[in-house]
Amino acid sequence: MASPSLMDTLFQRGLDDIIKGVRHQQSSTESIFISRVIEEIRREIKSTDLQTKSTALQKLTYLNSIHFIDMSWASFHAIECISSPTFSHKKIGYLAISQSFSESTPVILLISNQIRKDLKSGNEFEVSLALDCLSRIGTVDLCRDLASEVFILMSSSKVFIRKKAIGVVLRLFEKYPDAVRVCFKKLVESLEGSDSPIVSAVVGVFCELSAKDPRSYLPLAPEFYRILVDSKNNWVLIKVLKIFVKLAPLEPRLAKRLVEPICDHMRKTGAKSLVFECIRTVVTSFTEYESAMKLAAAKIREFLMEDDPNLKYLGLHAISIMAPKHLWAVLENKDVVIQSLSDEDPNIKLESLRLVMAMASESNLMETCRVLVNYALKSDPDFCNEILGSILSTCCQNVYEVIIDFDWYVSLLGEMSRIPNCKKGEEIENQLIDIGMRVKDVRPELVRIARDLLIDPALLGNPFLHRLLSAAAWVCGEYVEFSRNPVELMEALLQPRTSLLPSSIRTVYMQSAFKILIFCIHSYFLQKEDMTSEVSDLASKRQCSESSDLATGKALVQSDQDEGFNPRESNQSYEYPSVVDTGDGQSSTPTFMEKKSLMHESIVNLLNLMELVLSPLSGSLDVEIQERACNVLGFIELVQQEFSNPLIRKEANLDREEVIASRVVEWVHDVFTEELGPVSVTAQDRVPIPDELVLKENLTDLEAICGGVELPAPGSFSLTSPYYGESAVFSVSNLQAEEDSEPSTESTSLLTEHRKRHELYYLPSEKNIIPANDYPPANDPSSSINTNDATEDLVKLADQSLVSKRKPNHAKPRPVVVKLEEGEAAPVVSKKPELKDDLLSGAIHDILLGNEAKAASSQSNPSDKSSSKRKGKAKHVDLLDSKENLAVGEQPNHENPSSRRSKHRGDGKQKSKKSKGKKNGDGREDDGEKESQKIRDHHGRHKSRQRADAPINVVPQTPDIPDYLL
């Protein structure tokens, strides 16, 4: 690009021109205009004339801040501007830098020297510019380099500068914790006085600092207390209250002293912001002070009565903080809360909803939910889902603690899923399955609800409900024995519209259908055993009609199935003579099962239906669907041989075939009827990781392949292939020979074996729970044969965790809810503070506890007091004098002798300067002594100013925190 010409300099457009220019553009031409301006700026900014350069930078800064134009390329030019001797150029440069520099700006280190120069400048505005800039962009390096300059400015004679230097300290501490050793003392000293601008800045800094690590600032509590009592500045008071909210939980004795002044403020002040801060302080930290809570509640009531939506919102918010411990506050304001549910403001509605749910208890839950669900029907979609979400989360708290009537709750879940705007499918899904597993008594109702959901084809069209439907499908499959009409369920699961479901959920449908099929066939066999004699003469006739049924089914399959070609199918079809006849009437919705009269043909119909629906899916592109379809089809083929080849192979093979088929069915059935219990979420963590298992391996490639596939719902077993199914059968039948002692549970023997070995991760079956309402000892001697040391530890862990809680008796017996006490077992991960915070708090701790130790020792010897103050001062001088001390700053704090020595050195220098302070200190000291006598007389009723003095008998080094306010 051409170098800037004289013309550019002479006729440069100013910022105002640009602003006007942009204003005159249409929105369509605006970007063109701006890009032209940028081009201009790029040319002008290269000018050697600082005036031109800074004007260009000014324009760029404007465009950056308002029109999001990148200005990172101009960072070097900004640095050139701040090095200009002219103040206006500097101003522009600093603004540009604070706005655009980040930690990663490459040239940021170049400004270190310029900032230092400006910090030392005689012009206070230049100093202030540099300080502002440092507070915005200070990096670790900058803060380290400039800490000492900032420290000097903290003692500047100009309030304007001192205030800003204090403002910068926060950034300094955050980036370069060692700065604490230099600046902290100064910062604490700045707390003196109560209404100067300095105090308001310092309190702001402490408020931020104490939010990160309150414990370190506990020793300063007396200072803050003094400000709380003395200050008239609401801004300062609010900040001090915020600090006390952080400190109060750490030192219980603080609360007693604070309650009175806070209540005082609450009564006297007219400023709503201060009142609110007092309320918030009381309701979060002083909940056990009844009178303060009452006062706060009264003030909240005032807020709620006002017309101002802001106050209403804050009032509701404050109540919701109180709610967990002081429900009376909510109940007192019930009218307002309920009324706010229909407020115009969604935020207020949300708050009141939370409160309504907080009021819900065992006794009024049903009524509350009924009202809310009705209200949800009328609300806008967002709020509707908020309501549903809060009902769901309230009800499932502490393993459905509030729910007594689970039948009601399950039907409520069903009702909620039918609300048109419902998007809570996932939560409802979880709860349906969870309740199914935990509460045995509710299962019949649960199956009924699930059936209602499944047979409604309309629900399939709503993608938000798909998850919910998968739960319904799972419930129907798992607890099919409670169903009145399994065939109806089967048809619902196989209805054509299931193609709308995502494949992961479709697999659940298929698996559930398989479970139902097994159940039906199994019950058929049971029934058949009962009445073999009666059946025999009808057999030939019935089987005849069956074969025709099957044939029609086959024919349909053949015609329907174009894409899913399966050679096995076509082979099979040869086995049946194609008789096109009757059958249609029979196959439609047979209603039976009511009286356990399971007909042969209905089984055949089921088999046909399944085969019809699943055979196209055996060619599905989705691996999971395909596999399941093949499994089920393989099974059907196996069973069909028994059901439908009567004429051809009847005499020779019937007995053996039937034996195999019924046995397979029985085994699979046993697997499916095995109780599935809830599993602790931490169970997986307790499994030791085998040595050869590589968990860190990069599996992203794999993710790309099976991206859409989700895990099937818990408890869906799958046989990997029909052939595997058969081989499994044989191996199990071998087992059977060995384990004759356990009749009819052969196939579950594998499962029980597994269970025995991993007892920990199973919940005990219901059988064990109901009589005892307690869990059997986890370290059962018979199971501990295989366990090694590690697992024994786990056993102990689990033992502790599996303590079941007894519920009080209710009028209506509450069903048993299986639960895991996870709170206790969950591995407590101690959150380590970040390294930086650690450093920071460590540094502060050193300084403050050093302080305290000295203060305590000086207390025991009153005349030493002033010298201890000087000592602190002297330490600063030392630190400033020698850089080494900065690096090993801890030493003087830990080793009292050395700091004592330094005190002596400092003595002479400091005496004259500090004489006034000393006098002050002495005066205070007397005060303090008087006060402490008073306190001993009537305990803690004075509010006058005191210094931070530890009780006399406190040993300096003890970690115990002295009572700072007494």
Binding site: N64, P197, C207
Partner: protein, 143 residues
């Protein structure tokens, strides 16, 4: 970090001033401002001035055609921030005399300086109008 950012936005949703106290990239700023403007400008006078957004709160107030939006941490005192906004407006009023959108547009730099006097590192450090304005007036005189 009490205050995270201060925005001034007009009725049309155009940003007139943006001051951030934490580093955000241009894209993040653009996205954030868009979201906030959409959320807050749609609200009416009968609704409260506090909006929860992401993991923080926005306290906003409307003066004529200009919205003042302040993003704060969750435990910040909402009413105090409203007072802060009011203080800011009063301060600008005193300086510009009946401040309007154009004043802020054409004197963006000054508005930034006022904010710098009032807020450092996201902490409110100065709340007296005189103290805020005196350096600016002095600078005006000298330049």
């Amino acid at each position: 970090m009490g205050i995270r950012f201060i925005l001034m936005v007009n009725k049309q949703g155009q940003t007139r001033l943006a001051q951030y106290y934490e580093w955000l990239t241009l894209e993040e700023r653009r996205a954030l401002e868009g979201e906030i403007v959409r959320k807050c400008l749609a609200r009416n006078d009968q609704q409260c001035s506090f909006v929860e957004h992401r993991n923080y709160k926005i306290v906003y107030r409307r003066y004529a055609s200009l919205f003042f939006l302040v993003g704060v941490d969750n435990d910040e005192n909402e009413l105090a921030i409203l007072e802060f906004i009011h203080l800011l407006v009063e301060t600008m009023d005193r300086h510009f005399g009946n401040v309007c959108e154009l004043d802020i547009m054409f004197h963006l730099e000054k508005a930034h300086f006022m904010l710098e006097e009032m807020v450092m590192n996201g902490c409110i450090v100065e709340t007296s109008k005189c103290n805020i304005l005196s350096p600016i007036q002095l600078m005006d005189k000298t330049s």
